[in-house]
Amino acid sequence: MQAFLDQLWIARWPLWDGLLLTAGIAAAAIAFGTLLGGIVGVQLAYAPWWLRLPFRLYVDIMRGTPVLVLILAAFYIPAVAGLSLGPTEAGTLALTLFAGAHIGELLRGSLQAIPPGQAEAGRSIGLTFPQLLAYVLLPQAARSALPPWINTGVELIKGSSLLSIIGVGELLLRTQEVIGRTFMTIQFYIFAGIVYLVINIALDQLGKSLERRVGQH
């Protein structure tokens, strides 16, 4: 145990940097993914079929593809088109596209679950469609979308560990580097597992408290 703690102390900064990168990539992916998913969700719920079709295709392709394949595709396909993304950018892109599809789909579900009377009431008092969305529909949808949205955040934290495969120095790769040097395989994998668990439980609790404050009663 003492040997492990000594090595952990020596490796504290690389591991901390890895943790920050994990959190940063996941945060960027959830932020961009929420923007993207907001557009996608509204289109899926209200657009005419010909406009809906490309969004539906995007969502189904992203949701039907393993994240690992998305990551490898984001890393290699732009490279041959002459646009060489670094591993961190490619990884953030892949996770953003993944998050955008999931958030779009869960927002669509939330929007369609709102009783039609709400939209009718809004229209009858003369709201335009953007006003209707902003004042009536999105606030209600956001409440019911909150729990699965937090869940997507947890998925992204876990999914970011796959980025080690394209050489992003996030928590898992930093952990593997320490194991490579110290041979303390089990100790450091357990340590990384606990760190991921703590982050995700914290995120989950944050979501629950948010839900209590703004959620449906």
Binding site: A11, L68, L72, G82, S84, I165, E177
Partner: protein
């Protein structure tokens, strides 16, 4: 799992390549591109001592790193003009095929199948499997281990081929497989195994780290050749790298190769023989 990843990665890389015609194959040699850029971009890993790993100061070190620096020395007269791109073993060939890196030096085993996808440079090391024992233990060397037959237990890293690999050298020995390197060495230290079988380079490095505690059995087998890889179809670049590597093993830059070899394997490589070039003998 790694097999599958390799296939997925290679598949995506190759599929991506077919989307576009080969653009820069004939336009300009990589050699000119690298010289104009002023630094060499090398793909390698960061988790495998003594080849490529991070030391306690978080610096990338190892024999592959020194080989890359020898090439940079030849290009710029400065071993530090290298940018290392971290890549998993599965990404070695796709990153070359898609032009993410100029060259990869990441203990790539030379095989004819891989030579169909990438171009290999001249080799810089020959890996094998060796047996390590605790110093002063019951068996002095390989002959004694072999003579002891089934009384010997060999610890080895878990692997589909591990059992057969050990039996090739010690047909009657018992084989204990472990799923991590530390457990494999622990089995040897605790006397549960009388010898540990793993890559010769890893054993040499481990023995250097723990001087005096272990001995080599004196027998190695399972040869495999390590070389760097570059993209196919650029003879000028391949030729340059070959010259830089070959001269580090036979000519003017031998001191660099020798220092790296001693640092990471704890052994001195044979000096180039003066007179007739021995590689043509």
């Amino acid at each position: 799992m790694f097999q599958n990843l390799t296939r997925i990665a290679a598949g995506i890389g190759i599929a991506a390549c077919t989307l576009l015609p080969a653009t820069d194959a004939s336009a300009q040699s990589k050699l000119k591109e690298v010289l104009n850029r002023g630094k060499l971009i090398v793909g390698t890993g960061s988790t495998n001592p003594p080849w490529h790993f991070r030391d306690e100061k978080n610096q990338l070190v190892g024999f592959d790193i020194e080989i890359a620096k020898i090439i940079a020395q030849g290009l710029f007269d400065d071993p530090n003009k290298v940018e290392f791109v971290n890549q998993a073993s599965d990404a070695r060939i796709p990153n070359i095929v898609t032009g993410k890196v100029d060259i990869s030096c990441q203990f790539v085993t030379v095989t004819a199948a891989r030579a169909q996808q990438v171009a290999f440079t001249v080799p810089y090391y020959r890996e094998g499997v060796s047996l390590m024992m605790v110093a002063g233990g019951p068996y002095a060397d390989y002959a004694a281990l072999k003579a002891a037959g089934s009384k010997v237990t060999v610890s080895v890293l878990q692997n589909v081929f591990a059992e057969k690999m050990v039996k090739d050298a010690l047909p009657e020995a018992k084989v204990d497989q472990f799923d991590s390197v530390d457990l494999m060495y622990q089995a040897l230290n605790s006397g549960r195994a009388q010898a540990a079988a793993t890559d010769s380079s890893s054993l040499r490095y481990y023995m250097k780290q723990n001087a005096g505690r272990y001995v080599d059995s004196g027998y190695s087998w399972n040869p495999q050749t390590y070389a760097c890889i570059v993209r196919q179809g650029d003879q000028d670049w391949l030729n340059f790298v070959n010259v830089a590597l070959r001269e580090s093993m036979t000519g003017t830059t031998f001191p660099l190769y020798k220092a790296a070899f001693e640092r990471w394997f704890g052994e001195t490589p044979p000096e180039p023989k003066i007179g007739f070039p021995q590689e043509f003998r």
